[in-house]
């Protein structure tokens, strides 16, 4: 607990130092840029939020997905105000793990969590989170508050070698002195005291479904309307949208929504081709509106392999900012294929947003595979 607390304050204090230092790194346009919403208030104030860092590319504030390998592939992390859609693998094994990494990262950084599920009670999901990895190398990083040049070297353990060679040395500069992105041990559980010290809100659809609506039915399913109201309520009540000058929120709201679109949410798009084709897309649109106007970031897992109407998948993709697809080899012919024997599945980066920019940082390697070793989830370029 003490180590994490040190890490937290360390991140905060070095963060504000970073604000002064990094003014030289980032182009000035995004400081002049007028920001319409509360989430885009002064640049230097935002950088001092624990667990965030500005993007090297466009100054956008980023949070870690909980998987540093994935952060690298997404151009540094997940941008605050955006949606990351994970297309679930067939048995929802690895997507559910990514979901847990995302939430665990929120707890370690002291972010507020909002966990929504129609299948599992959020309290149970939190009990299952992986423990942060604190072996010798990483413990040293936690203890040191000064700028840590060894961070880049410790990352060699993560096998994304090709990617590091191509990137400018962003990991070694002062921006990385505050800890961004942690590693988790999937075989151990998050310590109870960390979970209890964290601030979280749970939305378990079976518990909420009976209460009345105060929005007229508008082609959204009941579950989606209630979830939107819940999210909007938290954002407003806790000041994440900057609308209440009394509540100066300097924290990020991490929203995790599991299995969106599945029949458990009351949606029928996974059951029939002629299901309610607008409910999910309307939900995503209003959700993105809420995210863009608040200090929050959202990860959604969706069983797209079950959606019958392919047009909906393409619309859902257009309505999401970042889209990552997971394909596991379990039960497929690839499981026994010698080419794939070292890996558990493929990871497809389907879409990366161009935020505040005409261009984006897209990797030219499209063949990425992942494997879950005893402690680490690694992503590698698939070697032929």
């Amino acid at each position: 607990m003490a180590a994490v607390a040190t890490c937290g304050t360390g991140a905060g204090s070095t963060g504000s130092v970073v604000a002064a230092g990094s003014k030289n790194h980032v182009t000035s346009f995004q400081r002049r840029g007028p920001r319409a919403s509360g989430s885009d208030s002064s640049y230097s104030r935002l950088v001092s939020i624990a667990g965030t860092r500005p993007s090297v590319r466009n100054g956008q504030l980023l949070v870690s997905t909980g998987l540093p390998a994935l952060d690298q592939l997404l151009g540094g992390g997940l941008a605050v105000g955006t949606v990351l859609l994970i297309e679930e693998d067939k048995y929802n094994i690895y997507s559910s793990l990514l979901f847990k990494y995302f939430l665990a990262e929120g707890i370690i950084n002291g972010h507020t969590l909002l966990v929504a599920s129609a299948k599992e009670d959020p309290a149970d999901i939190l009990q299952e989170l992986p423990a942060p990895l604190l072996d010798d190398n990483f413990k040293k990083d936690f203890d040191e508050e000064a700028c840590n040049h060894k961070t880049a070297e410790s990352n060699i353990k993560m096998k994304i070698a090709w990617r590091y060679q191509l990137l400018p040395k962003m990991e070694a500069g002062p921006v990385s002195s505050s800890r961004f992105g942690h590693y988790y041990d999937a075989s151990k559980k998050m310590p109870q005291e960390l979970i209890e010290a964290s601030k979280w809100h749970g939305f378990f659809f079976p518990e909420k479904s009976s209460s009345t609506l105060n929005i007229e039915p508008c082609s959204l399913t009941h579950g989606y309307i209630k979830l939107l109201q819940f999210i909007q309520n938290i954002i407003y009540e806790e000041g994440f949208d900057g609308s209440n000058p009394q509540k100066k929120q300097k924290n990020i709201l991490r929203i995790g929504i599991q299995n969106l679109g599945s029949p458990l949410w009351g949606d029928d798009i996974c059951c029939t081709e002629n299901g309610n084709s607008h409910s999910l897309t309307k939900f995503l649109y209003v959700l993105r509106g809420l995210l863009r106007t608040s200090l929050s970031a959202c990860m959604i897992t969706m069983p797209t392999h079950l959606i019958q109407n392919k047009a909906i998948i393409s619309r859902v993709t257009n309505l999401s900012d970042t889209v990552v697809g997971l394909e596991s080899f379990i039960g497929s012919e690839r499981e026994t294929n010698p080419l794939y024997k070292d890996y558990h599945g493929l990871i497809h980066i389907r879409q990366i947003p161009r935020l505040n920019n005409l261009i984006y940082d897209v990797s030219d390697v499209k063949d990425l595979a992942f494997k879950l070793k005893r402690k680490l989830f690694t992503i590698e370029r698939r070697v032929e």
Binding site: S37, S219, T281, A311, L358, I359
Partner: protein, 270 residues
């Protein structure tokens, strides 16, 4: 090499005077790639050309368009403040209209309705935004309606016919009555069997004077060539005595501009 700035090149056609000619409908379309760079270019082009612009921005926030606009040399904040730009920020407005009942008709009020039949409130918004100013002196050149994008209206519950009707009404007001232009982006969903989107795309293609279609390369991702742009000039109201002309360029998007070159002539290759 093609003259560098696409917006100038294509828009030069759009502004070519045709006797008694109404305004033009330009369709932007993307297939297997992101065509939003076209939207940014037309927005900055028309603002620099001193036109009055109504931008129905349904996909991204105001600050996103503004930051990119600054790279292209325009300030949306200034344009909005001095009345040149009327900006409908879809994402932000959707939150307002969805969670709170509005006293007056809201352009996006179809979000609250189970079976919204048409986009009349949105059309009224556009008409109001681009209505002539009464002070005698025209402060701005021709009015322009820019929409990013129309496909998302289908995702929000409107049928293709309702969206086509909306554009039809806008054309009547903006293009014919006010001699202005309309530029709208529609995604080409390709083989994903999105019937409604195909109806919308085909319907608009027939009505458009100019179609700019950004396509991902058939050979897949390439670092030096981001895609291919097809420009198609049409004369929808005249019999086909003139053949529709088309040109194809490949392009690469850069931080503050887009460069175009003939197929196979990318500087990386030569």
């Amino acid at each position: 090499k093609c003259p560098g700035r696409l917006a100038d090149y294509a828009s030069a056609y759009v502004h070519r005077r045709i006797p008694g000619g109404p305004g033009k409908l330009t369709l932007l379309c993307d297939a297997n790639t992101d065509g939003s760079f076209l939207v940014h270019h037309f927005l900055s082009f028309y603002l620099k050309a001193n036109c009055k612009v109504c931008f129905v921005a349904l996909i991204q926030s105001f600050s996103h368009y503004n930051i990119v606009g600054q790279k292209l040399g325009v300030s949306l904040t200034v344009a909005r403040e001095c009345g040149q730009l009327v900006f409908l920020e879809g994402l932000k407005s959707s939150v307002d209209v969805f969670f709170r009942a509005q006293a007056e008709p809201h352009p996006l009020q179809f979000l609250r309705e189970a079976n919204a039949e048409n986009l009349q409130p949105l059309y009224e918004f556009v008409r109001e935004a681009l209505k002539p100013v009464d002070d005698g002196e025209a402060a701005w050149r021709c009015p322009v309606l820019l929409v990013d994008d129309l496909s998302v209206l289908l995702s929000l519950g409107m049928g293709a016919v309702a969206v086509l009707d909306f554009i039809h009404y806008c054309r009547a007001t903006v293009c014919w009555e006010r001699k202005g232009n309309i530029v709208a982006l529609v995604h080409d969903s390709g083989d994903t069997e999105d019937e409604e989107n195909n109806i919308l795309l085909n319907g608009l293609s027939h009505q458009s004077h100019l179609i700019l279609r950004a396509e991902g390369l058939a050979t897949g991702f390439c670092r030096d060539v981001h895609g291919q742009l097809r420009i198609l000039w049409r004369t929808p109201s005249q019999p086909t005595t003139q053949r529709d002309q088309s040109l194809t360029y490949q392009y690469k998007i850069q931080d503050k501009s887009v460069s175009f070159f003939a197929k196979g002539m990318s500087p990386a290759v030569l």
